[in-house]
């Protein structure tokens, strides 16, 4: 089995402003993201040889790769739709990378988008799955809240202690997001605000939940050996992991509910490809899937950034703050930047890419010479995860 390491590079990226984009349709946001990426890579749309489109809700916009073909007028090339719940954006990037690595294409586009705010309701709605009764009242916050309840119980945190710990994650991400011009929720919050917010699904309150946003992000992927023809500072793909678990961990016998195993499996694959032995020491920054604050907490442990059951120590030590030893979600994360499902993986990659190029929007947010970054998405109930590792240098 070969590794993806240094076989492909990203030479252009784009990301539209995330938020409640009432005045934009999905095609408008895709145009914003794709044309920023074309311009960044210095390419003409005609150079795109194949595209991968990631979206969860395309069935009411158009099937196949047609939403992209239509919006960007990319006619006459293969466009595939990929879908992996909240890991969808990363799946688009992963497939584009694999195709380029195979040698079949020189230039590929990975683009993700989601238009959540045309649905007429807040959040992602009630009801999941294809069975008429089993998941009829399931919601996303409650599925992740099940992990919070069990995590608190397993590690002896009282409701008060647990909520306070999660609140610190929310405060951190809001603080980072306030410095991100393209983020959806650009404002800082205090611990007290987080703790006194209305409960959505106990123990998670409003500020434990990410923004439900519209948005799109895109990447131009090329062969690593040609990357410098496009720009002097390409970002190389070092590892691509993806793993799945039960459709419903809710029904999986013996499931611990103190973390999400797909993350562990995906990270193991990506670390092995990238040759990473100690991610906590080797990574310069990480973008992790913080759909809810509890998700970010268990991600620290599942990704091997914190010891199992001991994320609390790192949160309290400020390890993952913007000025800490391993900044996590330096752009505000899903919490503050927003979570247009199919775009999120690419938005995270956008942050790694810009940080490694020293081009983080707003200088206060620029990290000092980051070399290796990780982006992680987790989707489903939760059931599927992608881990993407990018590096500034080859080798």
């Amino acid at each position: 089995m070969e590794s993806i390491k240094d076989k492909v590079a990203i030479v252009g990226m784009g990301c539209c402003r995330f938020g409640e984009n009432w005045e934009q349709g999905p095609e408008d946001m895709m145009i914003d993201a794709a044309y920023e990426a074309y311009e960044d890579a210095g390419i003409d749309p005609k150079q795109i040889q194949a595209a991968w489109m990631g979206t969860v809700g395309a069935h009411w916009i158009g099937m196949a790769g047609l939403p992209v073909a239509e919006a960007l007028k990319l006619h006459g090339i293969p466009i595939s739709r990929v879908e992996a719940y909240c890991a969808t954006g990363h799946e688009a990037l992963r497939h584009a990378s694999l195709a380029v690595a195979s040698g079949l294409y020189d230039v590929a586009l990975a683009i993700g988008f989601e238009k959540l705010k045309d649905s007429g309701f807040a959040g992602l709605g009630v009801g999941r799955g294809m069975h008429p009764v089993m998941e009829i009242r399931r919601t996303s916050p409650a599925s992740f809240a099940l992990a919070a309840t069990r995590y608190f119980y397993t590690y002896g945190l009282s409701m008060e202690e647990g909520k306070r710990l999660l609140a610190k994650i929310s405060v951190k991400n809001h603080k980072n997001g306030a410095l991100s011009p393209k983020a959806h929720l650009r404002k800082e919050v205090t611990i007290e605000q987080v703790l006194s917010a209305p409960i959505i699904a106990s123990p998670l309150g409003l500020f434990d939940c990410c923004g439900n946003s519209d948005g799109s992000a895109a990447a131009i992927v090329v062969r690593a050996d040609t990357a410098r023809n496009y720009r002097s500072d390409p970002v190389y793909i070092k590892g691509l992991g993806q793993a799945q678990m039960s459709m419903m961990p809710h029904t999986q016998p013996g499931y611990h509910w103190t973390g999400f195993d797909p993350t562990k499996f995906a990270a193991q694959q990506a670390y092995a490809q990238a040759g990473i032995k100690d991610p906590r020491k080797e990574l310069s920054l990480a973008e992790v899937h913080d759909c809810f604050t509890i998700t970010e907490l268990v991600n620290y442990e599942d990704l091997g950034l914190s010891h199992k059951g001991r994320a609390k120590e790192d949160i309290e030590a400020g390890t993952f703050e913007l000025n800490g030893p391993l900044p996590v979600n330096s752009d505000g994360g899903l919490k503050s930047f927003g979570h247009p499902v199919g775009a999120s993986g690419l938005r995270m990659t956008y942050e790694l890419y810009k940080q490694m190029q020293g081009k983080a929007q707003m200088p206060q947010r620029q990290l000092k010479d980051p070399k290796l970054g990780l982006a992680h998405t987790l989707g489903g109930h939760p059931s599927v995860s992608c881990v993407v590792i990018c590096g500034k240098e080859k080798g």
Partner: protein
């Protein structure tokens, strides 16, 4: 010997007080309360509950028929007894029959159950439940209650032997609903009581006394349908019974539960009976049925999970009249957005777990999964499992969330992952009949068959959990 072999009761947890109703209408309320089915209950689910209370291993082993009696059946065309039998996980080779339309539907079913057992042996399980609506501001609004009752009859393991029965039929438009009526209508009550209730019951009882030679004093208990407390007391007295003989009508505790009412009272009488007691059981509705039962030594062997007493004790006041309105779907509410794929074929294909509540137990490694899995989670063995019934097993909350987003007329929704005592199977379900603030990891729960929604145009039933009752 032919007679009753077991009995069961179900009174929903929620009670509406006369005071709460009176406050809404600017009147003075008494001390009584009535039972109110939760929003996810109907006559069918209450019949299932009562049947669980009744279903001893002996009855399950011998069951040959399952009857469902109600004037508030969730279907006008489609049998409910077959759904009840499925939820109880009874075998397919039994008779299932629905009895409807009359307040006497429950005892109609009982009478035919006794006849069928006499002919064919085995056990017949009679379930009855009602969930009738009284017009707002009428005595019926508070007078009716929602409940279920069950009684099984057979020729072995008899706890109360049938001595005799007598029936009269009568056409009288006293209380009724047309097929499109939601609320119960009635004619002037003086006439209803005198020429309906009193006249018919008198005829049935005197026929029974004549046939048996018994006198009123020969009965330890008189279990008699009660439209209201005053008429019930007056008729019992007029028939020559002492107050001490008359079984509690439950009207002030649970209300009048229609076709289930007299059977629920009978469950109460049997619960308090001793060997040798003689019970007069009289029902009313478009005529009257009277039965005489003699309690046997086997009454001492009866072990009820909850019984009527336990059901009455497990109660929670309904916080407001508004809750009653939403539970009974009496006010229009904005349409909820629920992502759903209603499908009769999917429900049919998943009937072994969605209806019968079976999990799969791997024959190789013993892992128990719910729903049924063809490939074992642990050892990947294929199609090598035994089905195990989870519906009658208890469990403990493994993790939960109180979800304010998920809607329902009884928000918040308690999303629960429970661990069953059956091989630690994990069951994902909603918790019902609970106080969300009381939910804790490790809390004991049991499964209950509930109504989920009507998308697709049919009633979708499935399982929830609730804190263990009693």
């Amino acid at each position: 010997m032919l007679g009753i072999t077991s009995y069961g009761a179900y009174v929903p947890k929620y009670r509406l007080s006369a005071e709460t109703v009176a406050q809404v209408w600017g009147k003075r309320g008494g001390k009584e309360e009535r039972s109110v089915a939760n929003y996810d209950e109907d006559s069918l689910t209450m019949a299932v509950e009562a049947a669980w209370d009744c279903l001893s291993p002996e009855v399950r082993a011998g069951v040959k028929s399952l009857f469902f009696a109600s004037t508030t059946s969730p279907y006008r065309e489609k049998q409910c007894a077959s759904i009840v039998a499925g939820a109880l996980d009874l075998p397919n080779d039994i008779s299932t029959v629905d009895f409807a339309n009359s307040l006497r539907a429950g005892s109609n079913a009982l009478k035919l159950a006794l006849d069928s057992v006499k002919l064919a042996g085995g056990q017949a399980l009679v379930t009855a439940a009602d969930c009738r609506l009284g017009y707002p501001q009428t005595p019926q609004e508070m007078g009716f209650g929602d409940a279920g009752a069950a009684i099984s009859v057979g020729s072995s393991g008899v706890i109360a032997e049938l001595e005799a029965s007598h029936t009269v039929s009568d056409d009288i438009t006293d209380v009724w609903r047309k097929s499109d009526d939601e609320f119960v209508r009635s004619w002037e009550d003086r006439w209803v009581i005198t020429y309906g209730y009193e006249k018919n019951i008198r005829a049935a009882v005197s026929g029974l006394l004549k046939a048996t030679g018994h006198k009123p004093a020969d009965f330890s208990k008189v279990v008699m349908y009660a439209p209201d407390a005053r008429s019930h007391d007056a008729l019992a007295k007029a028939l020559g019974f002492e107050k001490t003989q008359v079984q509690d009508s439950l009207l002030s505790k649970a209300g009048n539960s229609g076709a289930a009412h007299a059977i629920l009272m009978l469950a109460g009488a049997l619960e308090q009976s001793a060997p040798g007691d003689r019970i007069l059981f009289v029902t009313y509705g478009d005529g009257a049925d009277a039965f005489s039962f003699k309690v046997t030594e086997d009454i001492n062997k009866v072990k009820r999970p909850l019984g009527l007493k336990g059901n009455l004790a497990s109660r929670k006041p309904l916080s407001s009249y508004g809750k009653y309105l939403t539970f009974r779907n009496l006010i229009e509410q904005p349409e909820e957005f629920v992502r759903a794929f209603p499908s009769a074929t999917v429900m049919w294909r998943s009937r072994k777990w969605a209806l019968r509540c079976h999990g799969s137990k791997c024959r190789k490694c013993g892992t128990v999964a719910f729903p049924i899995q063809r490939i074992c989670f642990e050892c990947h063995s294929r199609d090598d499992f035994d089905e195990v019934r989870l519906s009658d097993k208890k469990g403990k909350v493994f993790t939960f969330s109180i979800d304010n987003l998920a809607g329902t007329p009884d928000a918040p929704v308690v999303q629960t992952v429970l661990e069953s005592e059956e091989g630690n199977a994990r069951v994902y379900c909603l918790m019902t009949d609970c106080e969300s603030t009381e939910v804790k990891v490790g809390m004991p729960v049991e499964l209950t068959f509930r109504r989920f929604h009507e998308m697709g145009g049919f009633v979708n039933y499935y399982w929830k959990c609730r804190p263990v009752r009693g």
